[in-house]
Symmetry: C2
Subunit: 458 residues, 2 copies
């Protein structure tokens, strides 16, 4: 009993200050998603294991939190499984549900399950926590939030263009300078193809992915180490040589790719997307990055990744086009595209760059000092009038020493204190103390709400 | 694969329309909570079982969803436990975490764990899902949302008065007529005491609780059935006889309770609360209900319950004062009071009474028709201008037949369609179609955002 209670490792409590900052991020994300016609859905925290397993690779399966069947879960277990202490067989027999591992698979499940109620193209966003039994470390949690926005049932590259605009606007409003890197799975396939090693796309892209980090020689060694022949490596040189603007790179690539139908298609898509984006330029830097190779086992076209320009952080947002997400649940041939915003990383970036506005310290604007039972009816009316005017107001509940009440306002970051003692009440006014500047102003009671609204808006 | 995927029983997906309605409820609840100076916190979905177990009674313990330890969870299991197929011992050895069962225990855990960072009185609200392995039935789910608002670290009855005002304002804004029933645990203790059966408070209150349902004779039989002696029952008669206004009931009770210190204290608290509420009357009916006996094992003072006046629903909100919530985690003597809003029941009430405003059909205001690549740059600009004006706008991503695009707007409940074909573009205007009235209006392009904003606000 005396031991302080704790929470499971890798999970977090969010204090009021943290919540206000998080809600600031979520609020902007939600606002921009809606502005582009996306609508919210939510799915349950628990999914059937049959929905989750086999979708994230072997490692992913291991990281899914499993929920024990309720009741006497051992009743149906095969005795031999129990006596053999066979963990993996036993798991299957005592657990049917798991916690959501991401928002993509539940979204695919949702679309297939509700296909008859959905009007396609279906534009949805989803902001919910996901759980992974990963080893916790700095910046990596076992419970964290994803903000996914997808449109499914449309091939149009207009969707990609809009997602880039959504990314641009969200990070613009948050005040984070970003670089939006774009690639296309079809170009990656083309590169492997022209090198005469189409089946080695993963090895080749993983190696090229390290270009920035380990340089050209490093990539050559990496390729050789992965068993790529010198001839193939030689044919990849022109790709590693590419430089200049996205336009210049695409022109150059078009020459190199002349013999790859897939590569040319990818270049065509990149050009169409660039054309859509040129109609109204975005603020952020958008660049073709051939080394971008995320999600190769599900993305089929455009690949998008966003990095903070001013910090050596990893990806803070990413996504791409998938041509067969719902195929895993028996509904093939529906193309979609989407991106996911990493709320926790965005939070960390904003903290490091001090980008949160000051108001996110507290949502409460005013503390009304409690002078005790004599003044209480008048004080309740003062607080009531402020609330009627939409001002978040707290009346200190106990008539304790003034010093304690002021310390409370200070510690809770409440910006204004209203002092209405018996003298003020008799004079029909209140004293408003600005906790930041220390300034005190006497204000006639009927003008109090307006006075405070003006401070709030200034 | 061909089988449609599904979700665990008792859980739900929320479609866009349901989400918009739910967010409407949550939005009002959040707004009023903040207006009264409450701040949000969140706690993890998973808590250590040591935090959860033993807090909800035996039945509650059984209803907690347990999460399997990750990795090879059988490694540390005692062989004898395994061979005996001893479910309850095995559970303890293979599972250390459970899903949150309510928001109250996690809140108590939060307060104790973070006591050094918290400034008391601590006013927090928390809106999160909870999970219970209950048998699912109509209106009862295994995953559902609670909206809790509590202040801890203050004895003042001003808090109770403010919670009643918060209840009044939230249901007022939602348009639900309510009755707020109030009782006090100390009065219940007084009743049992004056009847000479203080230790039988639970049996007595459970029986009196049924007064409305089974009448006075029924209650007498119920009391007798629970082994309450005829003498005690006779002494309870005056309590069952009480009628009239809350004031009249309190005056009458004060006479009956003259010998019970606890009872008099309870009456005093009720009177003080009524006094606070009289300063500015609330809209809802507030009544003393001696039969209200919820949460007897944790509430120590005021007990509150809210019912919808126009429907025979159960409680849609309830709570009370607890003098020792954090005592279970080793931090005794901190008094608090709070109420919990049942979002799912509130949703059901509002659906049945058709209380949702029409706008909650879609958050998207405008669909811009896609006429194909020739018009696309102009259409993208039209959509862009509308979004700059804060109007949620969707440009249909594919240049399919007009009929299909209109059917989409209709099915998605998007109220306005903007038609900007090549003729309109040449004339520098757009045709706006109101999907509800069928009315079409030609509007010069520069005036389009203002025109639509005016429709939206009308």
């Amino acid at each position: 009993m005396a031991q302080k209670p704790s929470i499971p490792k890798g999970t977090r409590d969010f204090s009021p200050v943290e919540m206000l900052r998080r809600n600031y991020i979520f609020g902007i994300i939600r606002k921009i998603f809606s502005l582009y016609g996306y609508l919210p859905i939510e799915t349950p925290a628990m999914e059937n294991l049959s929905t989750l397993l086999g979708k994230y690779g072997e490692e992913g399966d291991r990281l899914i939190f499993r929920v024990l069947n309720s009741g006497n879960f051992l009743a149906g277990v095969t005795p031999s499984v129990l006596s053999a202490a066979d963990t993996s067989s036993l798991t299957r027999q005592i657990s049917e549900k798991g916690l959501r591992y991401d928002l993509t698979v539940p979204f695919a499940r949702y679309v297939v399950q509700h296909r008859d109620e959905i009007t396609f193209p279906f534009r949805r966003y989803q902001i919910q926590p996901v759980w992974r039994a990963d080893r916790p470390q700095k910046g990596r949690y076992r419970e964290f939030f994803q903000c996914d926005v997808d449109v499914i049932g449309s091939d149009s590259l207009l969707n990609e263009a809009e997602l880039v605009r959504i990314i641009d606007r969200i990070f613009g409003e948050l005040g984070i300078n970003i670089v939006i890197k774009i690639n296309n799975r079809k170009i990656l396939a083309g590169i492997a193809e022209i090198a005469g090693a189409g089946e080695r796309i993963t090895d080749i892209t993983v190696a090229i992915d390290k270009l920035e980090k380990i340089g050209r020689d490093g990539v050559r060694q990496e390729l050789a180490g992965r068993g790529i022949t010198p001839e193939v490596i030689a044919r990849l040189e022109p790709v590693m040589d590419l430089s200049g603007s996205t336009e210049q790179k695409l022109t150059e690539l078009r020459k190199v790719m002349a013999v790859s139908a897939s590569g040319l298609k990818g270049i065509g898509e990149m050009e169409e997307l660039a054309g859509h984006l040129a109609v109204e330029p975005v603020q952020a830097a958008v660049e073709l990055d051939l080394s971008l190779a995320r999600g190769l086992n599900y993305y089929t076209g455009t690949i998008i990744e966003v990095k903070a320009a001013d910090l050596p952080f990893g990806s803070i947002c990413g996504g791409g086009r998938y041509d067969d997400l719902t195929g895993i649940f028996g509904m093939p041939g529906v193309s979609g595209v989407g991106v996911s915003f990493g709320a926790d990383r965005i939070y960390d970036v904003m903290m490091q760059l001090s980008l949160f506005p000051q108001q996110t310290g507290s949502s409460t604007q005013v503390l009304v000092i409690n002078f005790g039972s004599g003044e209480l009816p008048a004080l309740m009316k003062v607080a009531g009038e402020l609330r009627k005017a939409g001002i978040a107001t707290e009346l200190y509940p106990d008539p304790v020493k003034l010093k304690k009440q002021f310390a409370y306002a200070d510690s809770c970051m409440i910006p204004l204190v209203v002092i209405t003692g018996s003298n003020e009440i008799a004079a029909g006014q209140a004293t408003v103390k600005n906790m930041k500047t220390g300034e005190q102003t006497a204000v006639p009671l009927p003008e109090l709400p307006l006075f405070i609204k003006e401070i709030k808006n200034s």
